[in-house]
Symmetry: D2
Subunit: 287 residues, 4 copies
């Protein structure tokens, strides 16, 4: 069973000795470089991460791919390696509630009792879930254990999702938010259980979560707002991945910031701009 | 009350003395030039058509527009002029069953008891209706009188729509097909009531409908297949409108084939190609 | 001739006695409620704004619409009323450099010597301009006077646009940024001339611009960052319009925050969340 | 060097003893089931086809995939196995001429001197090539040997492409058409060299090509029109694949018509409809 975790999406590169204070990890999500890996590389990368984590925290592995057979094959491999579960975003082209439901029934049927995180990420997949459809899916499919919420905009949907539980419509389901955490304070206030998203300073996500849970919503939001200029900067489509990798490199988390081809590359203007934003952050949080 | 009609979409140009054998007309649909007209022109064009038709057949007027107030204003005007009803396609951006339902509830509420044709035309609107959603809408909204079916591909949906009626799930609803009639024989066999679509030879649509209704499905399909090369040719996005207007001009239905700017224009190659296709049609049907 | 202005997009509602410190206004852009107005309302609203402004600052009027004839008709009316120019976003479906160029040649040809702001807003229009294409358009079309830049992400494009000018490739062109000002400090540093975008606190945009121009880039960014949580909040697609109108209502700029139907509406959770964000802003900037 | 071929896209299933009169084959295109295969399966399928073909005709292998490294790895394998070249469609998200050009430069640079078919297939990729961009790419990149043309609508583009060659703008390039051959007679008349597309009756494509080349354009079009109802029927998005496989199964080309999951399935209504269409075809062509 998956517990509510705060994850950090790590892009495929050699994991380092960085001390993780996160309570879980998600790897090979769809906004990083996973779609540019061959299945063998995905499995090798998963093994590398699981070895480094050594069972200290649960690791969820993204397995979204157009065919159910390759999805099942990679799922079997990563679960054998010790993954806590897999994450599945819907394939493109599912444009009605019934088509989406049919797809997740097929996925759950094929993956057996593997714990699954449903990734609701319409800006990239083009597949939109209503709150009613989410209720239906989580009621019908017990192997769906968690919602990764990255609808856009999606604040009201979190409230609707929690209201459905409060009314007894279905079991309680963990909700971790994505989209780089752009609305994390608001999302926690509306009932999210944490974040499962990429950001080059995952300790901010953790601390906001902890402070919020300890009743210090104001302090949590103050901390969040200090990082918001960089959250916003990293969220730029395409080039955001190069920005995140460059910050992770500077912080010693990865050895090389190159993105897999074809991929974005920072130029001198970008690097100078990033220098300025990091400098502002460090002065603001007093490093 | 709207009766099942076979319509012909007429693009905005002076209607002529052409003898209509169709049992109804739909004007100002979204694939023609309606979006390029100011509301005043739309009303003037409607008046012109209604004057020429002089009550002999019902005329449905497309009123799709982003705002409900302008939609209501033009609806009121065309209904006063004698339209039989209006046609509404969903606005863009409705990407869940619940959002689509909310939209049509708002439309029906705003337009009162005006008879409405629901236009299901996802290739252009980007809004997709499941069969279940159509059942829900026609059950909940009595002023929705007819379905203009142009889903793509959409043959199975007609069967599902009729199956829902056969099971008593809701009242029977007229289904007229669009998409240039590309699958008219198959659609009639699956339960469509006729066609409401643009094609430069509307008499073919009428005759296929009549022959099919008289039990001569084979003869109907033979006739349809003779026109299929031109049906296909007219269905080309963008330039198809210029093709249709040019054929209508040659047939004496309109005086000028120019499309409203910015619009497609036929060049010498296109015109020669069209000559060849028309010549083949005329030899095949023995004109 | 249009001078570089800092504009504030005002949604259609009764303009009030608010003191504008902006150096220009743009009305009837595509993210507000303009598409939900009939042309007559657009003209009436323009008249109302121009009367209130009384010539103190230039006013640009958005005239984007699918047909060139209605675009020309409304352009003529608003220019007669005293608009400084019009803004045109490309119609949807222009998917190659040549199609986009053909469109703007047709627009400029049709609108004569009316000064035109080219709106580069791909997230909404689906039409993408390369830097090379912008160079071509501004070189070929003298009535294009200004670029409203809201590509996403678009920071590098501003640098490329200025580099082309520095190399003598074409005349200098004013660049005002949109997207709610989400990257205003970075955009000014890369050469933008100001902002032309909607935000419920336009005085922030003005002050950031002024401080940046006076050499206080750090102070400008500090001020910007204080508002960033609300900039981000207002940028939510759909509901962002209701948020902006509600803030404008609270600030006394408009009398009623209702959005035109079909439109978004704030619920109790949204209003409480907004209360909290405004409260945080006011404490941070010391109101 | 690739010669102009008439190809038939074969979906992944055991190739049989059917006698091919085609002059080439393309396998693993993007509309079949290639995206649902793991790379190992793709290579195994390629080996199986190449063994069956045994060098009698050239075989092109589709290698479109988001990452250049996996693309290069599979290209190397299939070229070693004896493929004549590879086919590459642009990755999604390339929305300006310059981005598309950058992508193909990167691809050609990575694949060395492997002969490449450029697949211009915007309805599926969402990437649009102007005629000017095609001229630029084929002038700049010598390893691009052939254009698979499936723009929609695309007739004029073939004329433009040939006109550029006639004017000496660049070397002559083979053009094979796709889109199920829906406009094959028109495309041949405009200068296409043949077809490279899926259709369950590839002998029709061959015969139309041969008759057209022998000067019997009328006879070619008569033959084509006899098959047009089925060409149209197979072109239905999604379900068209199930239809094609079912016909190929009935014709003895494949042993099983099941599609890879998640995939479309024919129901009783579909099968009856298909029976009728095949029956009509056979009576019309006198089988």
């Amino acid at each position: 069973m998956l517990s509510p975790v705060i994850g950090a999406t790590i892009t495929p590169a050699a994991p380092s000795s960085i001390t993780f204070s996160v309570s879980g990890l998600t790897i090979l999500g769809i906004m990083g470089e996973a779609p540019k890996l061959a299945p063998d590389e995905s499995v090798a990368f998963t093994r590398c991460v699981l070895d480094a984590v050594a069972g200290r925290i649960p690791v969820v592995v993204g397995v979204s791919t157009p065919g159910l057979d390759p999805m099942a094959a990679i799922t079997e491999k990563v679960m054998e390696l010790g993954a806590a579960g897999v994450m599945v975003a819907p394939m493109t082209g599912l444009n009605t509630d019934d088509k989406i439901a049919g797809y997740f029934h097929a996925v759950c049927n094929r993956l057996g009792d593997t714990p699954i995180v449903l990734q609701d990420f319409p800006p990239t997949t083009g597949v939109w879930f209503s709150a009613a459809l989410l209720n239906r899916l989580f009621a019908e499919l017990p192997s769906l254990k968690m919602l990764k919420h990255e609808d856009w905009p999606g604040l009201r949907k979190i409230s609707q999702f929690r209201a459905a539980e409060a009314s007894g419509a279905r079991r309680r389901v963990s909700v971790l938010v994505g989209n780089g955490g752009l609305f994390l304070p608001q999302e926690l206030a509306r009932g999210a259980d944490g974040a499962m998203t990429g950001f080059a300073y995952p300790e901010m996500l953790v601390r906001v979560y902890v402070m919020h849970g300890a009743g210090d919503a104001k302090g949590a939001e103050d901390l969040f707002d200090a990082y918001l200029p960089l959250v916003r900067y990293e969220l730029q489509a395409g080039i955001g991945l190069a920005i995140r990798k460059e910050i992770l490199r500077r912080r010693g988390a990865i050895a090389c910031a190159a993105t897999r081809k074809p991929g974005p590359k920072l130029d001198a203007d970008d690097l100078a701009e990033l220098d300025g934003l990091i400098d502002r952050l460090e002065r603001r949080i007093g490093i």
